[in-house]
Point group: C2
Protein backbone atom coordinates (compact mmCIF):
# COMPACT_ATOMS: atom_id res chain seq x y z
CA UNK A 1 0.00 0.00 0.00
CA UNK A 2 1.38 3.40 -0.94
CA UNK A 3 1.84 6.13 1.62
CA UNK A 4 -1.14 8.01 0.20
CA UNK A 5 -3.54 5.10 0.49
CA UNK A 6 -2.40 4.37 4.07
CA UNK A 7 -3.09 8.00 4.91
CA UNK A 8 -6.54 7.62 3.35
CA UNK A 9 -7.19 4.41 5.25
CA UNK A 10 -6.14 5.98 8.56
CA UNK A 11 -8.26 9.05 7.87
CA UNK A 12 -11.30 6.91 7.03
CA UNK A 13 -10.87 4.81 10.17
CA UNK A 14 -10.41 7.90 12.33
CA UNK A 15 -13.59 9.44 10.91
CA UNK A 16 -15.60 6.25 11.42
CA UNK A 17 -14.25 5.91 14.96
CA UNK A 18 -14.77 9.55 15.91
CA UNK A 19 -18.35 9.54 14.60
CA UNK A 20 -19.20 6.28 16.34
CA UNK A 21 -17.68 7.40 19.65
CA UNK A 22 -19.36 10.81 19.50
CA UNK A 23 -22.74 9.18 18.77
CA UNK A 24 -22.50 6.42 21.37
CA UNK A 25 -20.90 8.19 24.35
CA UNK A 26 -23.45 9.60 26.83
CA UNK A 27 -24.23 13.24 26.03
CA UNK A 28 -22.92 16.17 28.04
CA UNK A 29 -26.44 17.06 29.07
CA UNK A 30 -27.08 13.61 30.55
CA UNK A 31 -26.67 13.47 34.34
CA UNK A 32 -24.11 13.43 35.84
CA UNK A 33 -23.14 16.08 33.30
CA UNK A 34 -19.64 16.84 34.58
CA UNK A 35 -18.66 13.16 34.49
CA UNK A 36 -20.07 12.69 30.99
CA UNK A 37 -18.38 15.88 29.77
CA UNK A 38 -15.06 14.60 31.13
CA UNK A 39 -15.56 11.23 29.42
CA UNK A 40 -16.28 12.93 26.08
CA UNK A 41 -13.40 15.38 26.54
CA UNK A 42 -10.98 12.52 27.12
CA UNK A 43 -12.19 10.24 24.33
CA UNK A 44 -13.01 12.82 21.65
CA UNK A 45 -9.77 14.77 22.00
CA UNK A 46 -8.51 13.79 18.58
CA UNK A 47 -6.16 10.88 19.15
CA UNK A 48 -4.51 9.14 16.24
CA UNK A 49 -6.93 6.19 16.54
CA UNK A 50 -4.10 3.79 15.79
CA UNK A 51 -5.74 0.92 17.68
CA UNK A 52 -9.14 1.30 15.99
CA UNK A 53 -7.36 1.44 12.62
CA UNK A 54 -5.51 -1.77 13.50
CA UNK A 55 -8.79 -3.49 14.39
CA UNK A 56 -10.31 -2.39 11.09
CA UNK A 57 -7.19 -3.09 9.00
CA UNK A 58 -7.15 -6.64 10.41
CA UNK A 59 -10.84 -7.07 9.62
CA UNK A 60 -10.00 -6.08 6.03
CA UNK A 61 -7.02 -8.44 5.92
CA UNK A 62 -9.23 -11.45 6.74
CA UNK A 63 -11.77 -10.52 4.08
CA UNK A 64 -14.21 -8.23 5.91
CA UNK A 65 -15.18 -4.59 5.78
CA UNK A 66 -13.84 -1.99 8.25
CA UNK A 67 -17.38 -1.19 9.41
CA UNK A 68 -17.88 -4.76 10.68
CA UNK A 69 -15.17 -4.12 13.25
CA UNK A 70 -16.30 -0.65 14.30
CA UNK A 71 -17.78 -1.52 17.69
CA UNK A 72 -14.71 -3.56 18.62
CA UNK A 73 -12.52 -0.68 17.43
CA UNK A 74 -14.40 1.78 19.63
CA UNK A 75 -14.32 -0.51 22.66
CA UNK A 76 -10.54 -0.82 22.36
CA UNK A 77 -10.28 2.97 22.06
CA UNK A 78 -12.35 3.43 25.24
CA UNK A 79 -9.91 1.22 27.15
CA UNK A 80 -6.97 3.11 25.67
CA UNK A 81 -8.56 6.45 26.58
CA UNK A 82 -9.28 5.37 30.16
CA UNK A 83 -5.69 4.18 30.58
CA UNK A 84 -4.37 7.57 29.41
CA UNK A 85 -6.57 9.44 31.89
CA UNK A 86 -5.32 7.32 34.79
CA UNK A 87 -1.72 7.36 33.51
CA UNK A 88 -1.70 11.14 33.48
CA UNK A 89 -2.83 11.48 37.12
CA UNK A 90 -0.47 13.16 39.61
CA UNK A 91 0.05 9.86 41.44
CA UNK A 92 1.11 8.22 38.17
CA UNK A 93 2.97 10.11 35.40
CA UNK A 94 1.72 13.54 36.53
CA UNK A 95 1.28 14.93 33.02
CA UNK A 96 -0.54 18.19 32.41
CA UNK A 97 -0.58 18.04 28.63
CA UNK A 98 -1.88 15.34 26.30
CA UNK A 99 -2.34 15.75 22.55
CA UNK A 100 -1.67 19.46 23.02
CA UNK A 101 -4.56 19.94 25.47
CA UNK A 102 -4.78 19.94 29.27
CA UNK A 103 -5.08 16.39 30.63
CA UNK A 104 -8.44 15.37 32.08
CA UNK A 105 -7.56 15.99 35.74
CA UNK A 106 -6.27 19.47 34.83
CA UNK A 107 -9.30 20.34 32.71
CA UNK A 108 -11.72 18.92 35.32
CA UNK A 109 -10.35 17.62 38.60
CA UNK A 110 -8.64 14.50 39.88
CA UNK A 111 -11.75 12.82 41.26
CA UNK A 112 -13.66 13.35 38.03
CA UNK A 113 -10.70 12.03 36.05
CA UNK A 114 -10.51 8.84 38.14
CA UNK A 115 -14.25 8.28 37.76
CA UNK A 116 -14.29 9.09 34.03
CA UNK A 117 -11.62 6.43 33.51
CA UNK A 118 -13.56 3.91 35.58
CA UNK A 119 -16.78 4.58 33.67
CA UNK A 120 -15.05 4.30 30.28
CA UNK A 121 -13.72 0.88 31.18
CA UNK A 122 -17.21 -0.34 32.08
CA UNK A 123 -18.59 1.19 28.89
CA UNK A 124 -16.13 -0.73 26.71
CA UNK A 125 -17.44 -4.04 28.03
CA UNK A 126 -21.04 -2.87 27.82
CA UNK A 127 -20.64 -2.01 24.13
CA UNK A 128 -19.03 -5.33 23.30
CA UNK A 129 -21.64 -7.30 25.23
CA UNK A 130 -24.51 -5.45 23.56
CA UNK A 131 -23.47 -5.44 19.89
CA UNK A 132 -26.39 -7.12 18.06
CA UNK A 133 -24.47 -7.73 14.79
CA UNK A 134 -22.19 -10.28 16.51
CA UNK A 135 -23.09 -13.72 17.84
CA UNK A 136 -23.16 -14.25 21.59
CA UNK A 137 -20.06 -16.44 21.37
CA UNK A 138 -18.13 -13.78 19.46
CA UNK A 139 -19.13 -11.03 21.85
CA UNK A 140 -18.07 -13.16 24.80
CA UNK A 141 -14.74 -13.98 23.17
CA UNK A 142 -14.19 -10.24 22.69
CA UNK A 143 -15.07 -9.39 26.30
CA UNK A 144 -12.70 -12.07 27.52
CA UNK A 145 -9.91 -11.02 25.17
CA UNK A 146 -10.23 -7.33 26.02
CA UNK A 147 -10.46 -8.01 29.76
CA UNK A 148 -7.32 -10.15 29.68
CA UNK A 149 -5.43 -7.59 27.59
CA UNK A 150 -6.35 -4.70 29.85
CA UNK A 151 -6.03 -6.33 33.29
CA UNK A 152 -3.13 -7.23 35.55
CA UNK A 153 -1.72 -9.73 33.04
CA UNK A 154 -1.82 -7.05 30.34
CA UNK A 155 -1.97 -3.27 30.16
CA UNK A 156 -2.48 -2.48 33.86
CA UNK A 157 0.19 -5.00 34.80
CA UNK A 158 2.58 -3.29 32.39
CA UNK A 159 1.86 0.09 33.94
CA UNK A 160 2.61 -1.35 37.37
CA UNK A 161 5.94 -2.75 36.13
CA UNK A 162 6.69 0.60 34.48
CA UNK A 163 6.11 2.50 37.72
CA UNK A 164 8.37 0.12 39.60
CA UNK A 165 11.06 0.53 36.94
CA UNK A 166 11.52 4.31 37.21
CA UNK A 167 15.15 4.98 38.09
CA UNK A 168 16.00 1.26 37.76
CA UNK A 169 18.35 -0.30 35.27
CA UNK A 170 16.44 -2.76 33.10
CA UNK A 171 17.79 -5.18 30.52
CA UNK A 172 16.40 -5.03 26.98
CA UNK A 173 14.48 -8.23 27.78
CA UNK A 174 12.90 -6.67 30.88
CA UNK A 175 12.03 -3.51 28.96
CA UNK A 176 10.42 -5.64 26.27
CA UNK A 177 8.43 -7.61 28.85
CA UNK A 178 7.13 -4.37 30.32
CA UNK A 179 6.12 -2.93 26.96
CA UNK A 180 4.58 -6.16 25.74
CA UNK A 181 2.12 -5.75 28.58
CA UNK A 182 1.82 -1.98 28.80
CA UNK A 183 1.14 -1.20 25.16
CA UNK A 184 1.59 -4.51 23.36
CA UNK A 185 -1.28 -6.39 25.00
CA UNK A 186 -3.92 -3.92 23.80
CA UNK A 187 -2.38 -3.77 20.32
CA UNK A 188 -2.36 -7.57 20.11
CA UNK A 189 -5.97 -7.60 21.31
CA UNK A 190 -6.84 -5.02 18.62
CA UNK A 191 -5.65 -7.41 15.93
CA UNK A 192 -7.45 -10.35 17.54
CA UNK A 193 -10.70 -8.39 17.85
CA UNK A 194 -10.41 -7.49 14.17
CA UNK A 195 -10.29 -11.20 13.30
CA UNK A 196 -13.16 -11.98 15.68
CA UNK A 197 -15.28 -9.20 14.14
CA UNK A 198 -15.24 -10.93 10.77
CA UNK A 199 -14.61 -14.63 11.37
CA UNK A 200 -15.88 -15.11 14.92
CA UNK A 201 -13.93 -17.85 16.66
CA UNK A 202 -13.63 -19.72 13.37
CA UNK A 203 -10.43 -18.00 12.19
CA UNK A 204 -7.69 -20.39 10.95
CA UNK A 205 -4.90 -21.23 13.40
CA UNK A 206 -2.04 -20.40 11.05
CA UNK A 207 -3.56 -17.10 9.96
CA UNK A 208 -4.11 -16.18 13.63
CA UNK A 209 -0.51 -16.92 14.52
CA UNK A 210 0.82 -14.85 11.63
CA UNK A 211 -1.37 -11.93 12.65
CA UNK A 212 -0.33 -12.33 16.30
CA UNK A 213 3.32 -12.19 15.20
CA UNK A 214 2.53 -9.03 13.23
CA UNK A 215 0.81 -7.54 16.28
CA UNK A 216 3.75 -8.26 18.59
CA UNK A 217 6.20 -6.64 16.16
CA UNK A 218 4.07 -3.55 15.49
CA UNK A 219 3.42 -3.15 19.22
CA UNK A 220 7.14 -3.06 20.00
CA UNK A 221 7.85 -0.85 16.97
CA UNK A 222 5.27 1.61 18.25
CA UNK A 223 7.07 1.81 21.58
CA UNK A 224 10.58 2.10 20.14
CA UNK A 225 9.43 4.94 17.89
CA UNK A 226 7.71 6.57 20.89
CA UNK A 227 10.97 6.50 22.81
CA UNK A 228 12.86 7.93 19.82
CA UNK A 229 10.30 10.71 19.40
CA UNK A 230 10.68 11.61 23.06
CA UNK A 231 14.34 12.37 22.35
CA UNK A 232 14.09 13.77 18.82
CA UNK A 233 10.56 15.10 18.61
CA UNK A 234 9.27 18.61 18.92
CA UNK A 235 6.95 19.35 21.86
CA UNK A 236 4.47 21.23 19.68
CA UNK A 237 4.21 18.25 17.29
CA UNK A 238 4.13 15.32 19.73
CA UNK A 239 1.76 17.14 22.06
CA UNK A 240 3.67 16.47 25.26
CA UNK A 241 6.89 17.96 26.62
CA UNK A 242 9.83 16.56 24.64
CA UNK A 243 12.36 14.77 26.83
CA UNK A 244 9.80 13.96 29.54
CA UNK A 245 10.78 10.27 29.67
CA UNK A 246 14.44 11.18 30.09
CA UNK A 247 13.60 13.77 32.73
CA UNK A 248 11.72 11.08 34.64
CA UNK A 249 14.57 8.59 34.24
CA UNK A 250 12.32 6.06 32.59
CA UNK A 251 14.13 3.19 30.93
CA UNK A 252 13.89 3.58 27.14
CA UNK A 253 15.20 1.77 24.08
CA UNK A 254 17.56 4.61 23.05
CA UNK A 255 18.93 4.70 26.61
CA UNK A 256 19.68 0.97 26.44
CA UNK A 257 20.69 0.61 22.78
CA UNK A 258 21.74 4.09 21.77
CA UNK A 259 19.78 6.09 19.21
CA UNK A 260 21.32 4.26 16.25
CA UNK A 261 20.74 0.89 17.88
CA UNK A 262 17.10 1.77 18.47
CA UNK A 263 16.72 2.86 14.83
CA UNK A 264 18.22 -0.45 13.64
CA UNK A 265 15.86 -2.35 15.91
CA UNK A 266 12.94 -0.40 14.47
CA UNK A 267 13.95 -1.48 10.97
CA UNK A 268 14.12 -5.12 12.11
CA UNK A 269 10.65 -4.89 13.63
CA UNK A 270 9.23 -3.40 10.42
CA UNK A 271 10.72 -6.33 8.50
CA UNK A 272 9.10 -8.74 11.00
CA UNK A 273 5.73 -7.06 10.42
CA UNK A 274 6.04 -7.45 6.66
CA UNK A 275 7.29 -11.05 6.85
CA UNK A 276 4.41 -12.02 9.13
CA UNK A 277 2.03 -10.93 6.38
CA UNK A 278 3.87 -12.75 3.55
CA UNK A 279 1.02 -15.26 3.06
CA UNK A 280 -1.63 -12.54 2.92
CA UNK A 281 -2.70 -11.01 -0.38
CA UNK A 282 -3.48 -7.39 -1.25
CA UNK A 283 -6.26 -7.37 1.38
CA UNK A 284 -3.51 -6.95 3.98
CA UNK A 285 -2.33 -3.73 2.32
CA UNK A 286 -3.70 -1.59 5.15
CA UNK A 287 -1.86 -3.66 7.78
CA UNK A 288 1.37 -3.36 5.78
CA UNK A 289 0.90 0.37 5.38
CA UNK A 290 0.21 0.77 9.10
CA UNK A 291 3.50 -0.85 10.01
CA UNK A 292 5.30 1.65 7.79
CA UNK A 293 3.27 4.47 9.28
CA UNK A 294 4.11 3.47 12.85
CA UNK A 295 7.88 3.41 12.32
CA UNK A 296 7.96 6.65 10.32
CA UNK A 297 5.44 8.77 12.24
CA UNK A 298 6.65 12.07 13.62
CA UNK A 299 4.04 12.46 16.35
CA UNK B 1 -35.84 -17.02 58.70
CA UNK B 2 -34.67 -16.69 62.27
CA UNK B 3 -31.78 -14.50 63.23
CA UNK B 4 -29.60 -17.56 63.81
CA UNK B 5 -30.25 -19.06 60.39
CA UNK B 6 -29.58 -15.70 58.67
CA UNK B 7 -26.28 -15.53 60.51
CA UNK B 8 -25.52 -19.07 59.33
CA UNK B 9 -26.47 -18.19 55.75
CA UNK B 10 -24.29 -15.07 55.77
CA UNK B 11 -21.39 -16.99 57.29
CA UNK B 12 -21.69 -19.74 54.66
CA UNK B 13 -21.82 -17.20 51.83
CA UNK B 14 -18.86 -15.30 53.20
CA UNK B 15 -16.82 -18.50 53.45
CA UNK B 16 -17.75 -19.58 49.91
CA UNK B 17 -16.94 -16.10 48.59
CA UNK B 18 -13.67 -15.72 50.48
CA UNK B 19 -12.46 -19.15 49.37
CA UNK B 20 -13.41 -18.54 45.75
CA UNK B 21 -11.80 -15.10 45.68
CA UNK B 22 -8.62 -16.32 47.38
CA UNK B 23 -8.36 -19.21 44.91
CA UNK B 24 -9.10 -17.21 41.76
CA UNK B 25 -7.25 -13.95 42.36
CA UNK B 26 -3.71 -13.90 40.89
CA UNK B 27 -1.17 -14.96 43.52
CA UNK B 28 1.18 -12.55 45.28
CA UNK B 29 4.15 -14.26 43.68
CA UNK B 30 2.83 -13.69 40.17
CA UNK B 31 4.38 -10.67 38.39
CA UNK B 32 3.72 -7.82 38.89
CA UNK B 33 3.81 -8.93 42.52
CA UNK B 34 3.14 -5.57 44.17
CA UNK B 35 0.02 -5.03 42.06
CA UNK B 36 -1.29 -8.52 42.75
CA UNK B 37 -0.54 -8.17 46.45
CA UNK B 38 -2.51 -4.90 46.51
CA UNK B 39 -5.42 -6.54 44.69
CA UNK B 40 -5.51 -9.41 47.18
CA UNK B 41 -5.09 -7.05 50.14
CA UNK B 42 -8.07 -4.99 48.99
CA UNK B 43 -10.39 -7.86 48.13
CA UNK B 44 -9.50 -10.32 50.89
CA UNK B 45 -9.67 -7.80 53.70
CA UNK B 46 -12.68 -9.40 55.32
CA UNK B 47 -15.65 -7.40 54.09
CA UNK B 48 -19.17 -8.37 55.10
CA UNK B 49 -19.78 -9.86 51.63
CA UNK B 50 -23.32 -8.47 51.65
CA UNK B 51 -23.52 -8.31 47.86
CA UNK B 52 -22.30 -11.87 47.29
CA UNK B 53 -24.79 -13.05 49.92
CA UNK B 54 -27.57 -11.19 48.09
CA UNK B 55 -26.60 -12.85 44.81
CA UNK B 56 -26.67 -16.26 46.47
CA UNK B 57 -29.81 -15.60 48.52
CA UNK B 58 -31.63 -14.62 45.31
CA UNK B 59 -30.38 -17.74 43.56
CA UNK B 60 -31.89 -19.73 46.44
CA UNK B 61 -35.16 -17.77 46.26
CA UNK B 62 -35.67 -18.76 42.62
CA UNK B 63 -35.00 -22.43 43.33
CA UNK B 64 -31.25 -22.75 42.89
CA UNK B 65 -28.27 -23.48 45.08
CA UNK B 66 -25.94 -20.74 46.41
CA UNK B 67 -22.96 -22.37 44.67
CA UNK B 68 -24.55 -21.85 41.24
CA UNK B 69 -24.26 -18.11 41.77
CA UNK B 70 -20.75 -18.09 43.19
CA UNK B 71 -18.91 -16.70 40.17
CA UNK B 72 -21.47 -13.91 39.77
CA UNK B 73 -21.22 -13.21 43.49
CA UNK B 74 -17.43 -12.92 43.28
CA UNK B 75 -17.57 -10.70 40.18
CA UNK B 76 -19.91 -8.28 41.96
CA UNK B 77 -17.57 -8.26 44.96
CA UNK B 78 -14.59 -7.42 42.71
CA UNK B 79 -16.46 -4.39 41.39
CA UNK B 80 -17.41 -3.38 44.91
CA UNK B 81 -13.82 -3.78 46.08
CA UNK B 82 -12.42 -1.73 43.21
CA UNK B 83 -14.92 1.06 43.92
CA UNK B 84 -13.84 1.18 47.57
CA UNK B 85 -10.15 1.46 46.62
CA UNK B 86 -10.85 4.38 44.29
CA UNK B 87 -13.35 5.96 46.71
CA UNK B 88 -10.74 6.02 49.46
CA UNK B 89 -8.12 7.84 47.35
CA UNK B 90 -6.96 11.30 48.51
CA UNK B 91 -8.63 12.94 45.49
CA UNK B 92 -11.94 11.30 46.44
CA UNK B 93 -12.96 10.60 50.06
CA UNK B 94 -9.36 10.62 51.35
CA UNK B 95 -9.91 7.80 53.86
CA UNK B 96 -6.99 6.16 55.60
CA UNK B 97 -8.94 3.42 57.34
CA UNK B 98 -11.27 0.78 55.91
CA UNK B 99 -12.58 -2.24 57.82
CA UNK B 100 -10.14 -1.34 60.56
CA UNK B 101 -7.08 -1.61 58.29
CA UNK B 102 -5.08 0.97 56.31
CA UNK B 103 -6.73 1.68 52.96
CA UNK B 104 -4.97 0.38 49.86
CA UNK B 105 -3.21 3.63 48.94
CA UNK B 106 -1.90 3.93 52.52
CA UNK B 107 -0.74 0.31 52.71
CA UNK B 108 0.82 0.47 49.22
CA UNK B 109 0.81 3.78 47.34
CA UNK B 110 -1.63 5.84 45.30
CA UNK B 111 -0.48 4.65 41.89
CA UNK B 112 -0.70 1.01 42.92
CA UNK B 113 -4.15 1.62 44.39
CA UNK B 114 -5.44 3.20 41.17
CA UNK B 115 -4.05 0.32 39.11
CA UNK B 116 -5.31 -2.36 41.50
CA UNK B 117 -8.82 -0.94 41.16
CA UNK B 118 -8.54 -0.83 37.38
CA UNK B 119 -7.32 -4.42 37.22
CA UNK B 120 -10.08 -5.67 39.54
CA UNK B 121 -12.74 -4.14 37.30
CA UNK B 122 -11.30 -5.93 34.25
CA UNK B 123 -11.08 -9.17 36.23
CA UNK B 124 -14.78 -9.05 37.13
CA UNK B 125 -15.75 -9.04 33.46
CA UNK B 126 -13.15 -11.68 32.64
CA UNK B 127 -14.57 -14.05 35.25
CA UNK B 128 -18.14 -13.58 34.07
CA UNK B 129 -17.20 -14.03 30.42
CA UNK B 130 -15.22 -17.20 31.15
CA UNK B 131 -17.57 -19.12 33.48
CA UNK B 132 -18.12 -22.47 31.73
CA UNK B 133 -21.15 -23.51 33.83
CA UNK B 134 -23.28 -20.72 32.28
CA UNK B 135 -24.53 -20.44 28.72
CA UNK B 136 -23.00 -17.81 26.45
CA UNK B 137 -26.26 -15.83 26.53
CA UNK B 138 -26.38 -15.83 30.32
CA UNK B 139 -22.76 -14.78 30.64
CA UNK B 140 -23.34 -11.95 28.18
CA UNK B 141 -26.45 -10.80 30.04
CA UNK B 142 -24.38 -10.71 33.23
CA UNK B 143 -21.54 -8.74 31.63
CA UNK B 144 -24.04 -6.24 30.27
CA UNK B 145 -25.93 -5.97 33.56
CA UNK B 146 -22.79 -5.53 35.65
CA UNK B 147 -21.31 -3.01 33.19
CA UNK B 148 -24.48 -0.92 33.25
CA UNK B 149 -24.72 -1.08 37.03
CA UNK B 150 -21.11 -0.05 37.55
CA UNK B 151 -20.73 2.63 34.85
CA UNK B 152 -21.77 6.26 34.53
CA UNK B 153 -25.47 5.39 34.66
CA UNK B 154 -24.88 3.42 37.86
CA UNK B 155 -22.27 3.25 40.59
CA UNK B 156 -19.62 5.55 39.10
CA UNK B 157 -22.30 8.07 38.14
CA UNK B 158 -23.56 8.01 41.73
CA UNK B 159 -20.07 8.68 43.04
CA UNK B 160 -19.77 11.64 40.69
CA UNK B 161 -23.08 13.04 41.93
CA UNK B 162 -21.98 12.41 45.52
CA UNK B 163 -18.74 14.36 45.01
CA UNK B 164 -20.66 17.25 43.50
CA UNK B 165 -23.08 17.23 46.42
CA UNK B 166 -20.57 17.79 49.24
CA UNK B 167 -21.56 20.94 51.07
CA UNK B 168 -24.76 21.24 48.97
CA UNK B 169 -28.30 21.06 50.25
CA UNK B 170 -30.07 18.14 48.60
CA UNK B 171 -33.72 17.20 48.79
CA UNK B 172 -34.64 13.68 49.95
CA UNK B 173 -35.46 12.89 46.30
CA UNK B 174 -32.03 14.04 45.12
CA UNK B 175 -30.32 12.12 47.90
CA UNK B 176 -32.28 9.03 46.91
CA UNK B 177 -31.36 9.47 43.24
CA UNK B 178 -27.71 9.67 44.20
CA UNK B 179 -27.82 6.57 46.41
CA UNK B 180 -29.86 4.58 43.90
CA UNK B 181 -26.90 4.92 41.61
CA UNK B 182 -24.02 4.93 44.05
CA UNK B 183 -24.90 1.85 46.08
CA UNK B 184 -28.32 0.82 44.78
CA UNK B 185 -27.33 -0.02 41.22
CA UNK B 186 -24.82 -2.69 42.28
CA UNK B 187 -27.22 -4.12 44.86
CA UNK B 188 -29.99 -4.33 42.24
CA UNK B 189 -27.52 -5.96 39.85
CA UNK B 190 -26.60 -8.46 42.60
CA UNK B 191 -30.22 -9.60 42.78
CA UNK B 192 -30.52 -9.74 38.99
CA UNK B 193 -27.30 -11.74 38.66
CA UNK B 194 -28.65 -14.17 41.24
CA UNK B 195 -31.72 -14.77 39.05
CA UNK B 196 -29.59 -15.07 35.91
CA UNK B 197 -27.30 -17.60 37.63
CA UNK B 198 -30.20 -20.03 38.06
CA UNK B 199 -32.80 -19.20 35.42
CA UNK B 200 -30.72 -17.53 32.70
CA UNK B 201 -32.77 -14.97 30.85
CA UNK B 202 -35.86 -17.15 31.25
CA UNK B 203 -36.92 -15.75 34.63
CA UNK B 204 -40.61 -14.76 34.89
CA UNK B 205 -41.46 -11.09 34.45
CA UNK B 206 -43.54 -10.78 37.63
CA UNK B 207 -41.00 -12.56 39.78
CA UNK B 208 -38.26 -10.32 38.36
CA UNK B 209 -40.21 -7.18 39.19
CA UNK B 210 -40.88 -8.30 42.74
CA UNK B 211 -37.21 -9.06 43.25
CA UNK B 212 -36.24 -5.71 41.69
CA UNK B 213 -38.59 -3.97 44.14
CA UNK B 214 -36.95 -5.89 46.99
CA UNK B 215 -33.52 -4.88 45.69
CA UNK B 216 -34.41 -1.19 45.51
CA UNK B 217 -35.74 -1.20 49.07
CA UNK B 218 -32.82 -3.10 50.59
CA UNK B 219 -30.38 -0.88 48.71
CA UNK B 220 -31.86 2.26 50.23
CA UNK B 221 -32.18 0.61 53.65
CA UNK B 222 -28.50 -0.23 53.52
CA UNK B 223 -27.66 3.42 52.91
CA UNK B 224 -30.00 4.83 55.57
CA UNK B 225 -28.51 2.46 58.14
CA UNK B 226 -25.01 3.42 56.97
CA UNK B 227 -25.82 7.08 57.60
CA UNK B 228 -27.28 6.26 61.02
CA UNK B 229 -24.22 4.22 61.96
CA UNK B 230 -22.00 7.12 60.98
CA UNK B 231 -23.70 9.14 63.70
CA UNK B 232 -24.34 6.46 66.28
CA UNK B 233 -21.67 3.87 65.61
CA UNK B 234 -18.41 3.26 67.35
CA UNK B 235 -15.23 3.77 65.29
CA UNK B 236 -13.69 0.51 66.46
CA UNK B 237 -16.81 -1.44 65.40
CA UNK B 238 -17.64 0.24 62.06
CA UNK B 239 -13.96 0.26 61.02
CA UNK B 240 -13.86 3.88 59.92
CA UNK B 241 -13.81 7.12 61.90
CA UNK B 242 -17.29 7.72 63.34
CA UNK B 243 -18.78 11.02 62.22
CA UNK B 244 -16.68 11.19 59.03
CA UNK B 245 -19.71 11.92 56.82
CA UNK B 246 -20.74 14.79 59.09
CA UNK B 247 -17.20 16.13 59.20
CA UNK B 248 -17.20 16.16 55.41
CA UNK B 249 -20.61 17.85 55.28
CA UNK B 250 -22.01 15.04 53.14
CA UNK B 251 -25.77 15.06 52.80
CA UNK B 252 -27.23 12.16 54.81
CA UNK B 253 -30.70 10.87 55.67
CA UNK B 254 -30.45 11.81 59.37
CA UNK B 255 -29.35 15.31 58.35
CA UNK B 256 -32.43 15.67 56.14
CA UNK B 257 -35.00 13.73 58.18
CA UNK B 258 -33.58 13.79 61.67
CA UNK B 259 -32.44 10.60 63.39
CA UNK B 260 -36.00 9.54 64.31
CA UNK B 261 -37.24 10.26 60.79
CA UNK B 262 -34.44 8.16 59.35
CA UNK B 263 -35.27 5.31 61.74
CA UNK B 264 -38.94 5.44 60.69
CA UNK B 265 -37.92 5.42 57.05
CA UNK B 266 -35.75 2.37 57.71
CA UNK B 267 -38.76 0.53 59.16
CA UNK B 268 -40.83 1.43 56.06
CA UNK B 269 -38.10 0.10 53.79
CA UNK B 270 -37.91 -3.16 55.73
CA UNK B 271 -41.66 -3.55 55.28
CA UNK B 272 -41.28 -2.92 51.54
CA UNK B 273 -38.63 -5.64 51.37
CA UNK B 274 -40.91 -8.16 53.08
CA UNK B 275 -43.98 -7.19 51.01
CA UNK B 276 -42.03 -7.56 47.77
CA UNK B 277 -41.38 -11.17 48.73
CA UNK B 278 -44.98 -11.96 49.71
CA UNK B 279 -45.51 -14.33 46.75
CA UNK B 280 -42.29 -16.23 47.47
CA UNK B 281 -42.28 -19.32 49.65
CA UNK B 282 -39.79 -20.42 52.29
CA UNK B 283 -37.03 -20.48 49.65
CA UNK B 284 -36.91 -16.70 50.04
CA UNK B 285 -36.09 -17.02 53.73
CA UNK B 286 -32.50 -15.94 53.21
CA UNK B 287 -33.61 -12.78 51.34
CA UNK B 288 -36.07 -11.95 54.13
CA UNK B 289 -33.44 -12.53 56.79
CA UNK B 290 -30.96 -10.35 54.90
CA UNK B 291 -33.36 -7.42 54.93
CA UNK B 292 -33.63 -7.72 58.71
CA UNK B 293 -29.89 -8.03 58.99
CA UNK B 294 -29.27 -4.89 56.93
CA UNK B 295 -31.52 -2.65 59.01
CA UNK B 296 -30.29 -3.99 62.34
CA UNK B 297 -26.57 -4.33 61.66
CA UNK B 298 -24.23 -2.46 63.97
CA UNK B 299 -21.24 -2.28 61.59
Amino acid sequence: MHQASTDDFLATCATLTDECLARRLPGETTEPTRLHAAMRYSVLGGGKRIRPALVMATATAVGGQPEQALVAACAVELVHAYSLIHDDLPAMDDDELRRGRPTTHIQYDEATAILAGDALQALAFEWLATEPALTADTRLAMVRRLALASGSAGMVGGQAIDLGAVGQKLSVEQLEQMHRRKTGALIEASVHLGVLSVLGEGGGQQQQEQLASYARAIGLAFQVQDDLLDIEGDTSVIGKPQGSDQARRKPTYPALMGVDGARDYLATLLLQCQQSLADFGPQAGALRGMAEFVVSRRY
